[in-house]
Each structure stands twice: as structure tokens, then as C-alpha cells.
């Protein structure tokens, strides 16, 4: 494979990272490729752990060959590189044999993820593989400059590697994988155009509700709450759409679930996220929301958190409270 060609193709196809941050994949590959170093690393991030997001598991189940093909291309493009597949615990158990077989002749190591949601954040992944407590690093330097053990490192999501393989073969049709869940008839993962609006996705999959509803778009924790009149936009983040029956959903229970998820899933390193989430959960637990305190917590979470997790915590709560309460 002509490696220069790959990066150009990734750029031309405007592939964006599918882990949720939408960083241009071609640019990332170019940075790692151009970095001068004796050793480079490639990491396939299969840590998928936001609630109601399950498309990476689906891809590993159904298209492992394509994913490995994507990793193989990266190994060829990046000089002196070897790779890790960083798998959430149950994915590790489930796909280990298959992935081992597929990577027999490749410098690829499977790594079982330890830790919660934050352990999937790209620099936490590095800490985790290096044997430390998974928590985010100060950026810059970014992983393509200095990643695993200080070496230039390419971290892409499972789905991104899948599409790298597709692009290399000229089979990419600007699609992405959507996890659809909640109060719907046809739960599951669907591969549809990335330009699709949420309403289109629901209709095409036969999931458009015939009852009063709202949805959470992106991911089941960090995703924004949208009302039926806000569905004329594409899905961001990790590509999940969760439908809620408005009449049957207890909003406090829902918020409690999110709060518990963030309490468990954050790393507690920085004060605003550690303490802010704790106080937010406390308020929701008591089902007594003080608007001023709530806004103050959102403010420091968004403005001063160390990483994107803390910065994103406010999104679901604020949108739910503003739109539904």
C-alpha cells in the first residue's frame, strides 16, 4: 500500500474520528507519520463505555477483519510501529480469541482495560497501558507528538479503523454506525449516511415514536436532550440515539442514572469535576434543585474542568432541566 496515498485518501474523504471528538483522521495520521521517532505506537480504542453506545462492540462482532485491516494499514504507514487494541473488559473476554487469530502475524497486543469511563479518554488510555491510574494527561503534547512512553502515537476508535479499511478499498460511502436504543421497537446498530438527520434515522429504522417523546443524542450520558421539534440535525458524539417516552420517564431517575455514571466514571483528579459532580449528584439524589447552585456547578464544570468529560457533564442535565422541567 502506498502510504502517502492513504493519508491523502483519508483527507479527501474527510473522515472524522468516530470516538466522539470528530477530529479529522487524515490530519492525525499525517502528524504521526511525519513525527520523527525511533518508535511509534498505534492504539485501537475499543473501550466503548458510555451507556447506550454499543456500535464498537457490534463492529468487532461483525467486521473484525475490516478493523484489523485498518490497523494493518496504520502499521504500514507508520514507521517502526506496533499496535495495541485497548478493549473494554467484556469485549476483551468476548473477542479475544478471534482478534488473536486475526493478528497472529502482526505486532499487535490486546490490552484489557481497567477502570471506568475516563479510562477510554485517549490520554487516559496511555496512562492505563503504561501501568498507571487512568486519568487524562495535560495537553499539549498531544498523543501524535508524544504518546505512549513518549513516542508518537496514533489513537483511533474501532469504527475509525473500520472506515480506514473501507476508504483504502475505495468502498467508503460517508456512512457511520448509529446505536439506537430506549423506547423503540427496533433497537440495534445501523449503518447509515453520516449526514442523516435524527428524524430520518428514526424513520428509516422504523423507530419514529407515535407517542409524546424526547431523545438523547450522541451518547447515553454526555448526549444532549432534544425535543421532537429539534430532530432536524445530524447526531454528534458517539452516534447514539436514545428515545424516551415522555409520559413514562421519571426525569429524576434518569438524571440519577447519569449522575451515578459520572460519579463512577470520572477520574476525580480535578476539583471541579470531582466535587462538582459529587454536589450535582447530591442535589439530584435529594430531588431538590437549587437553580443558582446548579448553574454555578455547571459553570465551573464547563469552564475549568481538566478534560472533555468534566466539560461535557452539564450538557444532558442542563438540556433536560431547561426543556422538560
Amino acid at each position: 500500500m502506498d502510504s502517502k496515498n492513504v493519508v491523502t485518501k483519508l483527507k479527501r474523504n474527510n473522515l472524522l474520528g468516530r470516538g466522539g471528538a470528530n477530529f479529522p483522521t487524515g490530519l492525525k495520521w499525517e502528524m504521526v507519520k511525519k513525527a520523527k521517532a525511533r518508535k511509534k505506537y498505534i492504539i485501537c480504542n475499543a473501550s466503548e463505555s458510555e451507556p447506550n453506545v454499543f456500535k464498537d462492540g457490534f463492529i468487532l462482532e461483525n467486521y473484525p477483519k475490516e478493523v484489523i485491516e485498518g490497523i494493518k494499514i496504520a502499521l504500514e504507514v507508520m514507521d517502526n510501529s506496533s499496535a495495541y487494541i485497548y478493549l473494554r473488559k467484556d469485549y476483551y473476554e468476548k473477542f479475544r480469541n478471534r482478534l488473536e487469530r486475526l493478528t497472529e502475524d502482526l505486532p499487535v497486543t490486546l490490552f484489557k482495560k481497567i477502570g471506568g469511563y475516563i479510562a477510554g479518554e485517549e490520554t487516559s488510555v496511555l496512562e492505563s497501558i503504561e501501568g498507571r491510574r487512568p486519568e487524562p494527561r495535560i495537553k499539549p503534547p498531544f498523543p501524535p507528538q508524544s504518546g505512549l512512553w513518549g513516542c508518537p502515537t496514533l489513537i483511533n476508535n474501532v469504527e475509525t479503523f473500520y472506515y480506514v479499511a473501507k476508504i483504502a478499498k475505495g468502498e467508503y460511502q460517508n456512512t457511520r454506525f448509529y446505536s439506537i436504543n430506549g423506547d423503540v421497537k427496533n433497537k440495534g446498530v445501523y449503518e447509515l449516511p453520516e449526514s442523516y438527520l435524527i428524524s430520518q434515522i428514526l424513520e428509516e429504522t422504523g423507530n419514529f415514536p407515535n407517542f409524546d417523546f424526547f431523545i438523547q443524542a450522541g451518547g447515553g450520558a454526555i448526549g444532549e436532550i432534544l425535543l421532537p421539534n429539534e430532530l432536524n440535525q445530524p447526531v454528534r458524539g458517539a452516534g447514539a440515539v436514545i428515545v424516551f417516552n415522555r409520559g413514562k420517564t421519571n426525569l429524576f431517575s434518569l438524571m440519577k442514572k447519569w449522575a451515578d455514571f459520572f460519579l463512577e466514571g470520572n477520574c476525580d483528579k480535578c476539583a471541579p469535576c470531582r466535587e462538582g459532580v459529587f454536589r450535582l449528584a447530591e442535589m439530584i439524589e435529594k430531588e431538590k434543585i437549587d437553580k443558582e447552585t446548579l448553574e454555578d456547578l455547571f459553570f465551573v464544570l464547563e469552564q475549568t474542568s481538566f478534560c472533555a468529560l468534566g466539560k461535557g457533564v452539564a450538557v444532558p442535565f442542563r438540556s433536560l432541566i431547561n426543556k422538560l422541567k
Binding site: P140, A271, P272, R274, E275, R279, T293, F299, V300, E302
Partner: protein, 574 residues
């Protein structure tokens, strides 16, 4: 890391020249621009977790931590705005809700950053309930207390403990939050260096008895109370009374102690002169017999504990000479007691030390002399300052006095013990003269001085090259031991102090402590040495006299000046 390229930036509409790649916080500090920073300590890597140092950058969205944001040409920074104030206020309120205040009994003594910031940012300190109020208090041996209900999770203690090569303080997940806790691992134990105390921004660590037991040594009216003060205290305690950094205030310190109503005030630096003479003797002996080389210093009890617990194979390398205050305590209860015709049982010896490990050292059984501990109490520099304040003694105003005879006049060599390299330099001065029989012309061994962590130097004595290394910071000592395991002949003489820059950076010293402060404290000590007429330990008239008149046999010398070390099991069980 900066690349030494000068650039121009703007902070608060002021043009400032700085180095490319410095952090915003570094540049601000250099230019006296105030940015609050709780978790930042110049001894440690930037963690950026307290999020109080947030600033705005023109043209960039949101707030950015000054401690981890690097400057670049043309960057335009704003350090104060309604948004910044709001963020700092709320984050402070969240931090206060982790910290059970006990301001009346805190090593920061109302000089606390949290408290100042609370005022400045109009913080409602009780906005949220204290979530840590039931968190445990731990005691580490006779030296340290860790009250985890005050901990704000900044992890400076964990980082410094790691940097010391000890790793006794750990982060443990408890439920969905982590706690800082002492390790249960059998292979990890506290060495009592107390660097956690001086690196904690909120007083979660303190010495045992700080400050509730400071009066204890003065209470027994039937005792003769003798205070002796360590070398480094004379250039650090002034900080507690707003004197300039590094002020040499030996006389004021003595006067202050006398005003407490104690019977005598002696100088531990005199003890150091004895340590030097014995240590030089032992070094010469070992060099001659090529036995148990390299020889290690042993004045630092944390270093001794480190060797005994972590690296017992090196126990034979430790010099058997006792540390200065232990020797002087022993002399007080023998030589001086005899001279004054006092029953040594009636004497209370109190050492004022820059150190919390010394509280541990005085409990070592093998140091006893005629069943008595050479030293009965250790007060830290901070504790003595507190005691002074309680007794309304202001060192700024007090008239200096001289320490008492006969154990009050040290040489310059005894004073520099307080800085990294001091023991090495003192011993080399004496060893040189003893080996060559000549007068040493250049007394300043500059290669072993200074703020570097590892100082390697070869010294030519009578044609023989003595290979020395002077180390401060236990983590660095660990590296030297690793070198020695591979190549045992790498050095002849090794000085180790557990704390950064030696005792000037000790765990009992005033807070805050950082590199610049330690440097000033050390500078004061070398100033004293330079001004002294006698700068060689063996030329101290008192030392000569005691060797002639009192140390009449090797046994007697050994009895008072030497000790032994034992392999140690974990002492702190949680």
C-alpha cells in the same frame, strides 16, 4: 521546559519579556502578578488539578489553567475578570467542602492560602457540607500526623512521597471517590522525612504534638531544662517573624529560648563538630582498610531508616557515628552533668530541629546512655516559633544573646551541617588535615555545595583521589544505591540528606518552603561559616578539651559518639 528564546507577551495589558515555553504561572510569579495556585509546587511536576489558577487568553474561548499553559509569542493573558473571579470562588467553595477547617491548630498559622483566598474571593466556606468530616486521622510513628479530613486531594503529598522513592502515600479508590491513604503494602514504610508536611498546601499533615504538646518539656519544674538548637534553625526561624529570608539570627534565637525560662541553651553545631571529628576518623580508617566503602553519612534519620528498611544490605556502609544532637545530648548528660554535679536523670534535653524524623530518632533504644535517652524531646522549627508566639516573644524585636558555655560555641564546620554538602565538607576539611598533617589552605569545597540534587566530586588528599557524592532528596539517593549495586567502587564517601537541599528543607521547617527559600537559608549558613575564625571541627577548643580530658578511652568515645543499625520491619501498621 523553556527553550531560552526571549519572547514578548502581554499580561493584564502589561508588556512582559519572558522565555518561550515557560508557563503562564511562572512568568506571572516572576513579575509579581498574583495568580492563586494551590496544587502547584515548584518541587513537583505540574498536575493542574485545583483549577484555581485559571486565566483568560484573548482570542481563545474559556478559561485556562496558568500552571499548565505555556506562553508563546504574542499571547495576551488576563488574570482577573468577573468570569475568572466567579470560577475561582466556586472552585474554592467546592474545595472548602472537602477541608475540615481547624485553623487554630494548623501549621499554616492563619498564613494559609485557602483562608486568604476565601477573603479575597468572598467565598462562602460553608456553602456545601464537609464531605470528609468522618475521614480518618493517621499517625506515622512518633513523627507525623495525617488528618485526611483536611485533605483537598491535590496529591502533592503523594507526588513528593513518590519522588522521595518511598511511595508510602497512595491513592486508593473508596467507593466512587479516591482517598489518600498510607500504604498497607508490607514493602513500603514511611521514613518520616515530613516532606508531605511542607508540600501540603492546606495543613493536612503535621508533626506529632504540633502544636498541642509544645509546652510539655517546660512543665516539669523539678527538671533542669536544656535546649539545644540545630544548625539550620538559625537561618529559617526568622521567617516565622517576618524577617527577611535567610536572616542569620543565632543570637535572637538564643535570647528567645532563654526568655522561655530554660536553664541552658546549647548549640547542636557543637555536637556536629564531634560528629565531624569521629566521622573523619572513621573515613580515614575505612579508606586505609578498604572496608565497608563507600562510607555513608548517618546524621539524617530518614536516610538511616530508608537504608534499614529498604536497602539493609547497605547497613555496614553507614558510619556508626551518632548525629550531632544525639552526641551533644549524650555529652550534656555525662560530661556536663559531671562537671556541674547534677544527676543526669534530672536533666531534660530538648532539641530544636528542622525535622520531624528526629522525633523518631530520639526513641531509638540503642542510643541510650546509662539507660537515659540522650534527648528527651524534639521540637521542630515551627513548634519553637509557635511556642515563642504563645509566650509573646518576638524574635524581630528581641536583643541577641550568646549561647551558654561550654557547649555553645561551634566552628563554621558545625554550622554548615544544615545545608546539603555540609557534613561532607566538614568531614573532608578535618580528614584532609588528619591525613596530610598539613594545614588546609582552601577550606571551601565548593563542588559539594549548592542546590543541585546530586553533586559528584573527587578530592585529592595526599595523592589519593577520594571519590565523593553528595545527594539530597531520597529518590536521588535511591539512584546512587542502584549505581553502587552495579559498581561498588564508584564512590568512597556518600552524604545523603532525605530532604531537598538538606536540613534547610526539612519537614520541620517553616512553610512555605521552596527552592528559593531553601537557597536563602543555606546562604545564611555559609555566611556564618565564612565569618568564623575557626572553621575546622577538630580545632574547636572544646572538642580538643573533651578529647583530652573526658574521652579518656575508646570505649567512652564509642559509648557517647557511636551507634549501630538494624534491619527494620514495617513500623507503621494502619
Amino acid at each position: 521546559m523553556s527553550d531560552n528564546k526571549k519572547i514578548q507577551i502581554v499580561i493584564d495589558n502589561k508588556k512582559i519579556k519572558c522565555l518561550n515555553g515557560q508557563t503562564v504561572l511562572e512568568v506571572a510569579k516572576e513579575n509579581a502578578i498574583d495568580i492563586p495556585s494551590l496544587c502547584f509546587h515548584p518541587d513537583l511536576d505540574v498536575k493542574a488539578n485545583c483549577r484555581l489558577c485559571v486565566v483568560e487568553i484573548k482570542g481563545k474561548k474559556g478559561l485556562h489553567p496558568a500552571c499548565s499553559t505555556k506562553v508563546e509569542p504574542g499571547i495576551n493573558i488576563i488574570t482577573d475578570s468577573p468570569e475568572i473571579r466567579k470560577a475561582r470562588k466556586i472552585n474554592l467553595e467546592l474545595i472548602f467542602a472537602q477541608h475540615c477547617e481547624e485553623c487554630n491548630d494548623c501549621i499554616w498559622n492563619f498564613n494559609c492560602q485557602l483562608l486568604k483566598l476565601a477573603k479575597k474571593y468572598k467565598v462562602k466556606t460553608t456553602r456545601f457540607f464537609d464531605r470528609k468530616k468522618d475521614y480518618p486521622v493517621y499517625q506515622f510513628g512518633p513523627s507525623l500526623i495525617f488528618d485526611s479530613s483536611k485533605c483537598i486531594d491535590c496529591r502533592n503529598c503523594v507526588d513528593i512521597c513518590q519522588k522521595q522513592g518511598v511511595g508510602f502515600l497512595e491513592i486508593k479508590e473508596k467507593g466512587h471517590l479516591f482517598q489518600v491513604i498510607p500504604s498497607k503494602d508490607k514493602s513500603k514504610d514511611c521514613i518520616y522525612c515530613g516532606q508531605c508536611i511542607t508540600h501540603c498546601p492546606v495543613g493536612a499533615f503535621e508533626a506529632v504534638g504540633e502544636f498541642e504538646d509544645v509546652e510539655k518539656p517546660l512543665l516539669d519544674k523539678n527538671k533542669i531544662v536544656i535546649f539545644q538548637f540545630a544548625p539550620s534553625v538559625r537561618t529559617s526561624i526568622g521567617e516565622e517573624f517576618n524577617l527577611p529570608l535567610g536572616s542569620v539570627i543565632t543570637g535572637k534565637l538564643v535570647a528567645g529560648i532563654k526568655k522561655l525560662g530554660v536553664d541552658k541553651v546549647f548549640d547542636v553545631s557543637v555536637g556536629a563538630d564531634f560528629t565531624t571529628v569521629e566521622e573523619a576518623k572513621e573515613l580515614i580508617e575505612r579508606l586505609k582498610n578498604k572496608k565497608n566503602l563507600p562510607m555513608f553519612t548517618s546524621c539524617c534519620p530518614s536516610w538511616v531508616k530508608f537504608v534499614e528498611f529498604y536497602e539493609p544490605e547497605f547497613i555496614p556502609n553507614l558510619t556508626s557515628v551518632r548525629s550531632p544532637h544525639i552526641i551533644l545530648g549524650g555529652l550534656i548528660k555525662t560530661f556536663w552533668a559531671e562537671k556541674e554535679n547534677i544527676d543526669p536523670k534530672k536533666i531534660t534535653v530538648v532539641s530544636v530541629m528542622p525535622c520531624v524524623s528526629k522525633k523518631y530518632e530520639i526513641q531509638r533504644k540503642e542510643l541510650k546512655i546509662n539507660k537515659l535517652k540522650p534527648v528527651d524531646y524534639v521540637l521542630t522549627t515551627r513548634e519553637l516559633a509557635y511556642l515563642f508566639t504563645k509566650h509573646k516573644i518576638d524574635l524581630k524585636k528581641i536583643k541577641p544573646q550568646k549561647a551558654d558555655n561550654p557547649l555553645g560555641v561551634p566552628t563554621g564546620a558545625g554550622v554548615i551541617y544544615g545545608a546539603s554538602g555540609g557534613v561532607m565538607e566538614s568531614a573532608l576539611r578535618t580528614a584532609y588535615e588528619k591525613i596530610t598533617g598539613k594545614n588546609l589552605k582552601e577550606l571551601n569545597f565548593k563542588q559539594v555545595r549548592g542546590m543541585k540534587r546530586v553533586k559528584k566530586a573527587e578530592v585529592n588528599i595526599n595523592g589519593k583521589r577520594v571519590k565523593t557524592v553528595t545527594v539530597n532528596g531520597m529518590g536521588n539517593a535511591k539512584k546512587i544505591l542502584k549505581e553502587l549495586k552495579e559498581n561498588p567502587k564508584l564512590y568512597d564517601y556518600v552524604e545523603v540528606m532525605a530532604c531537598f537541599d538538606g536540613c534547610v528543607g526539612g519537614g520541620g521547617q517553616p512553610v512555605p518552603t521552596d527552592g528559593k527559600i531553601r537557597e536563602e537559608r543555606a546562604r545564611g549558613l555559609y555566611q556564618i561559616d565564612t565569618k568564623k575564625k575557626i572553621r575546622l571541627a577538630h580545632k574547636n577548643p572544646l572538642v580538643k578539651k573533651i578529647y583530652q580530658k573526658f574521652f579518656t578511652s575508646e570505649e567512652k568515645i564509642h559509648f557517647i559518639c557511636h551507634t549501630k543499625y538494624l534491619r527494620k520491619k514495617k513500623e507503621i501498621k494502619i
